[in-house]
């Protein structure tokens, strides 16, 4: 009798897209709220965004069970950090923690594609983008998930930052005002929903700035 092959996969792709854009004194993080499996929609109202710290918000798409486990891990580690240091973790610190947490499972990865957004220690917007095993970099804007191939070129066109190879080092954050960045995010998701079947239903937009964190929603195509 030949060795049995597994007839189940430990992974699934629950779809969806995430975007984050960094500004001079704000950061916009957005994700759609659709959760799918195969050609089915499981629910239209699932949040892919998680607040990890006061000035640090993560949006993740991919395999929902892994995303949830990752969010819980980071939340737990943040609590320990607060107990030990009597302060919130900064966004760059959380960025490193996320990278390490992902690489820890390098040989059975979290199938989670993340963008981390928030304010750095000086109050300037920052966005970090990741692959599933923790490779990361600080950027001015990023998109991950099923619609990223449709969204990224559009963001490149609207927000193109100067090359990071130039000297002196130029700022990657967009000169756009908060309202303009939010409008761009809405446009980008409306476009992605037209062609990506896994993106749609509703966008959840989270804005982090000096006054705190605020949330808004926008309806998208339901098909």
């Amino acid at each position: 009798m030949a060795k049995q092959q597994a007839n189940w996969s430990p992974y699934d792709n629950n779809g969806g897209s995430c975007v984050a854009i960094a500004g001079a004194d704000y950061c916009v993080i957005a994700a759609d709220t659709r959760m799918s499996t195969g050609y089915n929609i499981l629910t239209r109202e699932y949040s892919k965004i998680c607040k990890l710290a006061d000035k640090c918000v993560m949006a993740s798409s991919g395999f929902q069970a892994d995303v949830k486990a990752l969010q819980k891990q980071l939340a737990a580690r943040h609590l320990i950090y607060q107990h030990q240091h009597n302060k919130q973790m900064s966004c760059p610190a959380m960025a490193q923690l996320l990278s390490n947490t992902l690489y820890y499972k390098r040989f059975f990865p979290y199938y989670s594609f993340n963008v981390l957004g928030g304010l750095d220690n000086e109050g300037k917007g920052c966005v970090f983008t990741y692959d599933a095993v923790g490779s990361y970099e600080k950027v001015g804007y990023s998109s991950q998930g099923s619609g990223s191939t449709l969204i990224t070129p559009f963001l490149d066109n609207q927000l193109k930052s100067p090359s990071p190879l130039l000297l002196p080092v130029q700022d990657a954050v967009t000169p756009l005002v908060e309202a303009e960045a939010i409008d761009l995010v809405k446009t980008v998701f409306a476009s992605a929903s037209e062609r990506d079947i896994y993106t749609g239903d509703k966008i959840e937009i989270v804005v982090v700035n000096a006054t705190g964190i605020r949330r808004e929603y926008m309806e998208l195509r339901k098909d």
Binding site: K3, Q4, A6, N7, W8, S9, P10, Y11, D12, N14, M35, T37, N40, L42, T43, E45, Y46, F63, Q64, A65, K68, A69, F108
Partner: protein, 245 residues
């Protein structure tokens, strides 16, 4: 080179002998569970069949059980794994009761616990082969969630497992609304179960509907749905058809 060969502890899940200790495929299975929120709580329906592949082996399987004071669990998939989950939950509820502190686990907490259990088993490559529906109401707050065998979980106003996702959810999306009465909720569930009966080959015409409200859980006696087979399209189905359909 014997000192090079690593020795597995006896209870490890690695190595060729361990393959027989991991779930490879399900044996006795239950089909869809459908549930929805209504005015006073949650309504859930499941048939009473336990299939052994294509054989309908067991016709009196209760696939919905009360958990503690506030929750109702319905399961599809491997029945023995469902029974194992009930044992885990027995322990959980027992510990909760033994604190004797006036507090009790609500549906949200039980759902979270089940999600962690399913995800952990998936991580060890030895899944509990079930799709679970967990509904309940505590302090006026209704809750309805689901978790799959690999740990994918969410909550919604209506959920279903297996074929229910394909056949029942679309009906529920069209016809569910906030504050359904008990009668309307039952009618809606029966509509879903009837479609499943017609189109899911593992469904049987013997079902129960369970209700959970602030007062507690009640589960109906098993009963059958009225079916209609005289549709003209069903008469002479192959007439005019080329091939085997």
């Amino acid at each position: 080179m014997d000192f090079m060969a690593s020795k597995q502890p006896e209870n490890s899940l690695l190595g060729p002998e361990a393959d027989s200790q991991r779930t490879l495929y399900p044996y006795v299975t239950g089909t869809s569970v459908v549930a929805l929120k209504y005015k006073d709580g949650i309504l859930m329906a499941a048939d009473m069949g336990g299939s052994y592949g294509s054989t309908l082996r067991y016709k009196n399987v209760e696939r919905m059980k009360a958990i503690g004071k506030h929750s109702l669990l319905g399961a599809s998939g491997e029945i023995s794994d469902f029974q194992e989950i009930l044992r885990y939950l027995d322990d959980l509820i027992l510990y909760d009761n033994m604190w004797d502190d006036g507090n009790s686990l609500g549906p949200k907490e039980v759902h979270n616990y089940l999600t962690r259990v399913m995800y952990n088993r998936r991580n060890k490559f030895n899944p509990l082969w079930n799709s679970l529906v967990l509904g309940g109401i505590k302090n006026g707050q209704k809750y309805l969630g689901t978790v799959s065998m690999i740990g994918v979980n969410f909550e919604d106003d209506h959920v279903a497992t297996g074929f229910g996702n394909h056949l029942a959810r679309p009906i529920l999306r069209q016809e569910w609304h906030e504050n359904l009465s008990f009668e309307d909720g039952v009618k809606l569930l029966e509509k879903c179960m009837r479609v499943l009966l017609y189109r899911d080959r593992s469904a049987i015409n013997k079902l129960q509907i369970a209700k959970i409200t602030e007062e507690g859980m009640t589960i109906s006696q098993p009963y059958s749905l009225k079916t209609y087979w005289e549709f003209s399209a069903f008469e002479n189905p192959t007439q005019g058809a080329v091939g085997s359909w």
